[in-house]
Symmetry: C2
Subunit: 167 residues, 2 copies
């Protein structure tokens, strides 16, 4: 969340601020995923990342829909959390030479991203409901469901194959 | 994860690196929590943060135990992810004037921290088991269980009272 945004006075302001934060985060994720795809060796992991890139583009459209429903213009605010998570993912990927170990590291990084999104969507849904915006909550729920499904899929991939191949 | 750490060649290197990352993260959390305690208004939230600070100090000791069991010296590496999550928590807290809205923001920030820890411990446990270190995995599992319980408690507190008070 950026220092350049206006002060937060009400729960509605906080909700919009958090919406801007996750909008920025999803935008950064669409930029980070192509690099992760190019680094992944396991074909299942690559295609999982490719699918998640398409999902993320869809999620951005849903966020734009929520901004519209709530009567505010869609825009992002700098989110140091996702910037830090992506910076860390790039740093560790740059330190791993072995392809199989790199795949294991990429899964861990992707799951850190997923968990950030899971916590933010969980919060946004609770706040939307509290603000009487069940319509916004139900659109945000679709994004949350996809993030949770991606996290489960990454765990299954790691445990079934990737971690074993790396050891 | 820091650029100053040695290159990661094996899954064992990656496991140790991730252990150093979460060790640094837990240390930063023990520094961030007293500030969150001082900002919280709701007494239940304050005491929840106080309890979590004691738990975090305990979790650091468990991590030191895992380092010892694995035959490496306990040390941290800079973790841009937790730095970013804490930076964002401080920024948003600095922008909220209303005490009740601030409590809602503090819960959201604390849950972002919890989810970071949940994903890292989940990964570490899977890697420890893959490396045949079930002994390390079971110590790490205790930390994961506490983080998950804290996250559930924060959700309950927010939904039962804090979000309503802020609206």
């Amino acid at each position: 969340m950026g220092l350049l945004t206006s002060d937060i006075k009400t729960m509605d302001d906080l909700f919009v601020h958090q919406l801007q934060d996750i909008y920025y985060a999803e935008q950064q994720i669409t930029k980070a995923l192509p690099k992760m795809i190019s680094k992944a060796t396991n074909p299942q992991l690559r295609s999982g990342f490719e699918q998640h890139l398409r999902e993320t583009e869809n999620q951005l459209q849903r966020l734009e829909q929520v901004f519209k429903m709530h009567g505010v213009q869609a825009k992002g605010v700098t989110c140091p959390a996702i910037d830090g998570i992506i910076k860390e993912a790039n740093e560790v990927a740059g330190e791993v030479a072995d392809k199989e170990v790199l795949d294991a590291a990429l899964v861990a990084s992707a799951q850190a991203v997923e968990h950030y999104e899971i916590t933010r969507y969980g919060t946004l849904i609770a706040w939307a409901k509290q603000l009487g915006r069940n319509d916004c909550a139900s659109v945000l729920q679709q994004n949350l469901d996809e993030e949770k499904a991606t996290d489960v899929k990454l765990t299954q991939m790691a445990e079934a194959k990737i971690n074993r191949a790396a050891t």
